[in-house]
Every structure is written in C-alpha cells, then in structure tokens.
C-alpha cells in the first residue's frame, strides 16, 4: 500500500481499539443514499511506471525552441543552488508557521523576503507574497478602495492585458467601475491618466515597463493621484527594477509585481508569486500574511506572524482579504535567488536583456517594412510593427524552430501587425542574427 505503513496485524489491533469490525464500518455515518454511485478509476501504478508516463508527456512539449516570448513572463537562468536550498524538505514539507518557536526558519526567511522586496522597490514594507502578479494588482486596488471608500479605478490600457482581465473578473461582484485610459502606439498617456483622477477615484494603476516594454516615469501621475486623495499603484518587472527609477521614488502608494522572474521556473503558468509592497501608512491595509520581528522570554530576537487582526481567520467577512496562505516556497526561492545574484547580478541581468533588445531592434528594423512601434525608451522588451500580420509570421517562424515574440493584436485591435519581442540572458546575439535571417526570408 503506497505510503500507508499499517501491517495487517496492526490494522486488526487498531480496529479493535476503535471498536469496529472493518474499515468500512468507520463510515457508518454516511447514509447509504449518499454513497458514491460509482468510483471508476484505474488501478494504481508503480513509481517507475508513473515516472515513465510523465517523461513521455513532457517530451510531447517543445520548450526548447529559440524563444523571444515574454509579455510579462520571462525565461531567466535559475542558479542551481536555488533548487538545492529551497528543495530542503524542512522548508518544503512545513506548513504555515502557526507555531512560531518551531518555524523560525520559514518566518525569518519571510522577514528577509519582505526586506528584499521593500529594498528592491524602495517601499517601506511588503507582505509575505500573494498568489501572482494579477492577484497582487487586484489586492492593491482593494487596499485603495478600502482606504479611500471610493469605487472607481483608473487603469492604463498598457497594463498587461492578462492582469486587466483578472482585475475585471475579481471586481465583477463589487460594484466598482474600471475606467481604462487608452494607450497610444504602445505608449501610456500620462496626461490623460492624471486628468482621469477625480474625487471618485480610488486609485490609478500603471505598469513599468508597460506591456509594450516602454519605460516611463509616473511621478507626475502619482502626484495627481495624491492631490485628489487617490492611490498611485504600479506594477513592475522586478529584474528591470534593478536599474529603473523605483516605485518609492516615483511616490507610489502600492507597488506590486509578478515575482516569476526571481527564481521560479516558467512551469506553464505557475506556481509563481505576487509581490506586494506599500508605504508605511497603509501597512494595516496590506492583505495576507506578514511576519514581524520581536523578542522571546529571554530577550532573544525571533519572528512571528503579525497584524493577524486583519486576517480572515479572525475578522471573517470583514477581513482585508480572503487570502489565507502565501506562496511561501516561491517567496523563499525568490529570496535565495536575489541573495545569490546580489545587486550586481540583478543589474547585469537587466542590462544584458536591454542590450540584446536594442541589438534585436537594430537588426530587425534593418529589414524592409519593419519599424519600431514608437520612439519611447524601452527595457528588455520592444514592440515592432511588421509589414504583415504578426500571428501568421509567428506561426511561420515557429515551424522553423523559433518563437519571435508575442503578437499583440489579439488584445489590441488595430495592432495586428505588432510583434512584442523580449530578451533575457537566456538569449544571445547569435540567436538574434538567425531570427533576422529567417524573418527576412519570410517578408
């Protein structure tokens, strides 16, 4: 019996202690008409057979192609020490640290994670993580709605459409209005965003770099938000944050991010982690788990879950959020990843991606009919207008073993010819040369 230790003799003796004759007698309280109509599942298999089956399924996927696919989710090298350390089963097989004395490892790691996130974004504090970048964005918006008691959100259209779709789903029952400010040629319109903030607005939500890779300074937008009593919320790409003006310096109230790029495999979409940070005055609005530093009976430093009076297990329907756990293991991976890279490693990753994206922009715009979508500054991702429908070109190039990027037309009608191309340290100049050659062939 896989994973069940009982011998037949132990089973008999334990049933006798309980005072029943058979295992099925333990379920006497389930009335006969509530029993399963059927339970038609295959027989169990050996570990070897199951592993072989998954090896076969994994081989049906093709993750190994040369790829410039990003759109908010990036392939970065993960130092092997991240797997080795986060894979230690004392971390892996623990639960939420309800008993702090025997969970100092997890608790201190979360405290360090909160510190790392706050320092990266130059915000005052952070929580222990939420599910992903999209839920972080939604929970940030809810912080603003609670604090301002207002019900309108102003959202830049150049915020990742994946997260805007999630925001719409999560807000569906809440009688909130979401006002989307259209982008222009992939550029966010700061003046229109500022102008849209009024006394009904709880928050203005932007992204840097935006979905099209464009880098901007939103300090003016956040100043307009503050003047009108609204929150400024920004979503960032944590790797580029190593070199970009920070949310803290721009005056954001809440900064969020998808933390996948910090030590999480792409893994077909999860598990990843949502980073959430804020200014000190909003700490009690911050949802989810938070770890605080304190002392024990002998005055030694230690860590505990804190500010729990905001949470669902105490406040029930009045909690700051329904979030019960965090992405603890993913947060641990991010912390280890950042500790191994250090500031220099993270800066190098950012610069490497940016340099390659510039190289790619140069090589591809040398092809006939290919031009940059705009002349705005960009990070490691850049949008280009092609002389043909981008979907078709992407499909054609995939047949040649290369994914040139993401066609943005499906989210932005009228931009069917636009390709979004991302670079990380997983790419090389050589790959870009080959891409330019193949694309040139097809145009």
């Amino acid at each position: 019996m896989p994973f069940i230790p009982h011998t037949p003799q132990e089973l008999r003796e334990m049933l006798a202690v309980v005072g029943v004759r058979s295992l099925d007698d333990l379920f006497a309280d389930i009335p006969p008409d509530m029993r399963p109509k059927h339970f038609n599942l295959p027989k169990g298999q050996s570990e070897a057979a199951v592993c072989a089956m998954f090896e076969k399924l994994a081989a049906k996927n093709r993750p190994g192609m040369t790829s410039f696919l990003g759109a908010g989710f990036y392939a970065h090298h993960i130092p092997k020490a991240v797997d080795a350390l986060a894979g230690r089963s004392e971390f892996y097989t623990a639960y939420t640290p309800y008993q702090s004395e025997c969970s100092q490892g997890t608790l201190q790691a979360v405290f360090e994670f909160q510190t790392a996130v706050s320092r990266l974004l130059e915000m005052d504090c952070a929580n222990a993580s939420v599910y992903d970048g999209g839920t972080a964005l939604f929970e940030g918006a809810m912080m603003a709605v609670r604090a301002t008691r207002r019900r309108a959100l102003v959202v830049d259209e150049a915020v990742n459409p994946v997260w805007r779709a999630m925001l719409a789903t999560y807000c569906a029952g809440l009688q909130l209005t979401i006002k989307t400010i259209p982008q222009k040629n992939g550029m966010s319109r700061s003046e229109a965003l500022s102008a849209a903030v009024n006394e009904d607005c709880a928050a203005v939500i932007v992204q840097n770099p935006n979905f099209f890779g464009v880098v901007a300074d939103y300090a003016g937008v956040f100043a307009a938000a503050r003047e009108n009593g609204a929150f400024g919320i920004i979503s960032v790409y944590p790797v580029m944050q190593a070199v970009l003006k920070t949310p803290g310096e721009m005056g954001a109230d809440v900064a969020v991010a998808e933390g996948q790029s910090l030590g999480q495999p792409l893994s077909f979409g999860g598990p990843w982690l949502g980073l959430m940070s804020c200014r000190k005055e909003h700490t009690r609005q911050l949802p989810g788990r938070i770890v605080g530093r304190t002392t024990d009976d002998d005055s030694n430093t230690g860590y505990v879950l804190t500010l729990q009076a905001r949470e669902q297990h105490i406040r029930r329907a009045k909690a700051t959020s329904n979030i019960c756990s965090n992405q603890a293991l993913c947060a641990l991976r991010a912390l280890i990843h950042l500790s191994l890279l250090g500031p220099d490693g993270l800066v190098r990753q950012a610069e490497h991606g940016m340099a390659l994206a510039r190289f790619a922009a140069g090589r591809l715009t040398a092809l006939r009919g290919v031009e940059l979508l705009n002349d705005a500054p960009f990070g490691n991702e850049v949008a280009m207008r092609l002389p043909k429908d981008a979907e078709g070109l992407v499909a054609g190039l995939m047949d040649r073993g290369c994914v040139p990027g993401y066609p943005v037309g499906r989210h932005y009608p009228g931009m069917e010819n636009v390709l979004l191309l991302a670079c990380t340290e997983a790419n090389s100049r050589n790959q870009i040369e080959l891409l330019a050659e193949e694309l040139g062939d097809m145009l």
Binding site: P5, F73, L174, R315, E391
Partner: protein, 482 residues
C-alpha cells in the same frame, strides 16, 4: 541567527551572471528613468548563502522530520517522485503563452493532456460534471466557487445577495463570499451540527435573497453532518446552491462523492488531499468542480479534446466568469497531484480515507483518558479535544513542540473550550501515534503537578515563547524598520 542582509560584505558576490557584453543602463536610458542607488540586496558568496539557508531550514519543523497532526490542514507525507515529475524540463521550462500562439498548441500537447486528465480524475472523485484547475489556493477556489453561484443567479435574471455560512466554518468562507460581493448570514450550530430547523427558519425569512450555503462536511469538529439530505432539500427547494468546502476531502474519498450527495460546487485543496507539499504556507492549488448547470460559468480558457485526440484551449465560453489566473492555474502543483493520483489509483485513494479515519479514531480512543474528548462517537479524519480542567491548550501545544512533535491546531474551532484539534493522516504509523499519546500523557501529568513548568515550554527550540503583542505594536516588518 543574523539575517542574510547582516551577513552581506561590501565587494563580495556570488558571480551568478556572466559579465554582460552590454553597456551600463545609463547609456541605454535617459537619466530621469534610472534608479539612483543600486538595490541594497545581500553581497554574499555562494557558500555564505548555502550556509545561511541550510541554517534556517534547521530551525523548522516539517512533515519529513516531525509528526505534524495539524487539524484542518492535512499534513501528510508528500512523496518524493512527484518533485521529479514537476521538474522535468518539458514542463518546467514551458512558457504558458506558447500554447496561446497559432500552432502553439502543438508545442504543449503533453501539458494540455495533463491538465485534461487531472480534471477527469477530480470529476470522478467528486461526482462533478466539470472542473477548473485555475484557482491558485483553497481560498482562491472558494472565491471562484461563489462567483459561479453569483453568475448562476445572474443568468436567471435575479440578484441574490446573501450566503449562509455555519459558525463552525473556516474563516476563509465568509471572507471569500464577502470578497465576491455577498452579504453573510451566520448559522449557529447545535451539538456541533447544522440545525435544519434553524436553516428552515433562515430560508423562510430570506428565501428569495439566498444565493446558497457553504459547508464543510465532515465539519470542523471532525463529525459527519447528520442532516445532510434535509439540508440539500431545503437549499434546492429555494433554488439556492450548495457549496462544499473540500478541505476535508481526505476523510471521504471513495466513500462519498459530493456531486452524488447533492452539492453543486466543490473546491479541493491539492496540497492537502493529494499530497503536494505546502512549502511553509504555499503554493497550494484549489481546483473547483461543478454540476452541469454551473459548467457554463467556468473560467476561460478550458482544455478540451478534439475527435482526433489532440488537445486545445477553448475560449468560446460566452457565460464564463472570466480569468481567475494568468493562465491555467498552478500547473506545477497540478502535475504533482496527478502523479499522486496515478500512483494510488482508485483503490488507493479510497484507502487514504479509510486509514486517515482509522488513525484519527485510534488516536481519539487512546486519548480519551488523557484529554477531554467531547463527542463520544466515531470521528472522521480529525477530532477535537479540550485541555483538561486547569490546563491551557497553548501550554500543551508548546510542551509538545519541546518533545519534537508539531502541535495540533489550537483554539479552533472557536466553539470548543481550550480546543486541540488533531489530524494524524493515513501516512503515520501506529508507533508514532502511540508515542504522541505517551507524550501527551506525560505533559498532562506534569501540568497537573506543576502548571508553571508547563508554561515555560518550549525550552529547547531556537527561541522561547515570542512576544506577539510587541510584534504588532512595534511593527518591525523589514530589516530597515528596526
């Protein structure tokens, strides 16, 4: 232990990234867009980092090292081979957008098949018509499930604003319903059960405004709800829906299918029932199953199969509530759960419930002369007990830690005095259960003889009891707030 930031040494580094053949950011972007100071992250050697995190790991209790009978959380052994499965590069390196490109489906057939099969397994286990794997944790599943309930009533052209929740429910239930815009009506339990008369009265009063009821069964006292058929009839009589909180699925797999029993929505916690490790608090995964009438509302896209056997992502779902997740849920966690299900098979899954319930009843029986066990009947996979008169549940919990056992859940559910809620799970041996009983016997004897000694536990862990009040008042949440 010092933090990793305190161990940072200027000039040191782990050299994890090649020195890029790239100009500095300042040469690529205008100065006004750049950060002034580099982020104050640790500067450590690889060995510094390895020692630090190895040291931290040793300051944790875990299932692999300790008995962890945390009631309502199902901390069972998580098999190691599932980690191998999830780390196969064909899965781990797969970009989720690849499957969204024209002809991209062909590059992700294995992954799509895994999602499809996991849904089919969960449907058969629960007796539901359809499943979504999108929700990223149990509470996220609850939110998804109640969103279906809202969508169902909306599609019938009415707004029903209220959801009924027993007082014994997990705190996430009311929080999730509130987040979806519902008003909560709390239902008081009687003798640890939902009282169908109370329920009738509430439905009579609010009938046209009741969207549904959320319940946990077996409930948080570890007991089967005895009035289930009447509860189902009451709710369906009012065209309201029944939500099943699947946190306790480990108790009933193969013995009761919630779809057959009359429930309309169920969420499962893959990290509980299907043995995917919880990583100190996450990631989890909270798939939601529904009966046929709620299937049109599932999040988009859904994985479907063509006649030729190939898999595709179906976006043509006009009544879908939208997207709960950026892509297809916590895929890596789903893979582990699927591997676990395939390993155990149908018989194995039913055996899980049998031995989990056996272990709980054995432990309960053996503790009857040590703790106050309030309900003299069979329990499900967990049970509640009270600390004996004069002793505090918290002190008993800390004394267990001192003896190398993780404590049971304490002070939950709130409706039981000095509550200790234990869930041994099926993967623990009789020796472990017996050792735990002996430890509790000793602790209670010691506590009765000298309550002050008990209040000093634990004495042999990295820290003694921590001042939680000071933590909340002083609010030191980062190294820099000190």
């Amino acid at each position: 232990m010092k933090t990793i930031f305190a161990k940072s040494v200027p000039g040191r580094g782990a050299c994890q990234v090649d020195s890029a053949d790239a100009p500095a950011a300042a040469h690529m972007l205008p100065a006004g867009l750049l950060r002034i100071h580099p982020p104050l992250l640790p500067r450590c050697s690889e060995l510094d980092v390895v020692r630090h995190f190895t040291g931290l790991s040793q300051r944790n209790y875990s299932v692999d090292a300790n008995f962890y009978p945390l009631g309502s959380c199902t901390m069972k052994y998580s098999p190691k081979f599932t980690e191998y499965v999830a780390s196969l590069p064909g899965f781990a390196r797969l970009h989720p957008l690849l499957a969204r490109l024209e002809r991209g489906e062909a590059c992700a057939q294995g992954a799509l098949q895994c999602l499809y099969e996991a849904e089919r397994w969960l449907c058969e286990i629960t007796g539901m018509e359809a499943f979504t794997l999108q929700p990223m944790a149990g509470a996220n599943g609850e939110f998804t499930g109640v969103s279906f309930m809202a969508a169902y009533h909306r599609a019938k052209g009415r707004k029903r604003a209220k959801i009924l929740i027993p007082d014994s429910a997990h705190g996430t239930n009311p929080a999730s319903a509130a987040l979806a815009g519902f008003e909560i009506i709390s239902i008081e339990s009687r003798d640890g059960m939902i009282d169908p008369d109370v329920l009738s009265a509430v439905i009579a009063e609010h009938g046209d405004d009741v969207a549904g009821l959320m319940m946990t069964c077996p409930n948080t006292l570890g007991l089967m709800e005895l009035h289930l058929p009447r509860i189902v009839a009451e709710l369906h009589g009012a065209d309201a829906l029944l939500y099943y909180d699947g946190a306790n699925m480990n108790a009933i797999m193969g013995k009761m299918r919630v779809g057959d029993a009359g429930f309309d929505v169920v969420h499962l916690n893959l990290h509980k029932t299907f043995a995917t490790p919880h990583g100190g608090g996450g990631p989890g995964s909270g798939p939601v199953g529904v009966t046929a009438r709620l299937a049109p509302f599932l999040p988009a896209p859904r994985v479907a199969v063509r006649e030729n056997g190939s898999f595709y992502l179906d976006d043509n779902l006009p009544q879908s509530i939208g997207a709960m997740t950026p892509f297809y849920g916590n895929f890596g966690v789903v893979l582990k759960a699927l591997a676990y299900m395939l390993r155990l098979g149908g018989d194995g899954l039913a055996r899980v419930a049998e031995y989990a319930v056996l272990n709980a009843n054995y432990l309960k029986k053996r503790l009857e002369d040590v703790l106050d066990v309030p309900f003299d009947k069979l329990c499900a996979h967990e049970f509640v007990a009270s600390a004996p008169e004069g002793l505090r549940a918290l002190d008993i919990a800390k004394a267990l830690l001192e003896r190398g056992f993780h404590a049971p859940t304490v002070y939950f559910p709130l409706i039981v005095r000095e509550c200790l809620m234990a869930e041994p799970t099926e993967t623990e041996s009789r020796e472990t259960l017996d050792a735990y009983v002996e430890a509790l016997r000793e602790i209670v004897a010691q506590g009765k003889a000298d309550p002050r000694a008990l209040a000093e536990a634990p004495r042999n862990l990295p820290v003694r009891r921590l001042d939680e009040t000071a933590a909340a008042r002083r609010m030191v949440l980062t190294e820099d707030m000190g």
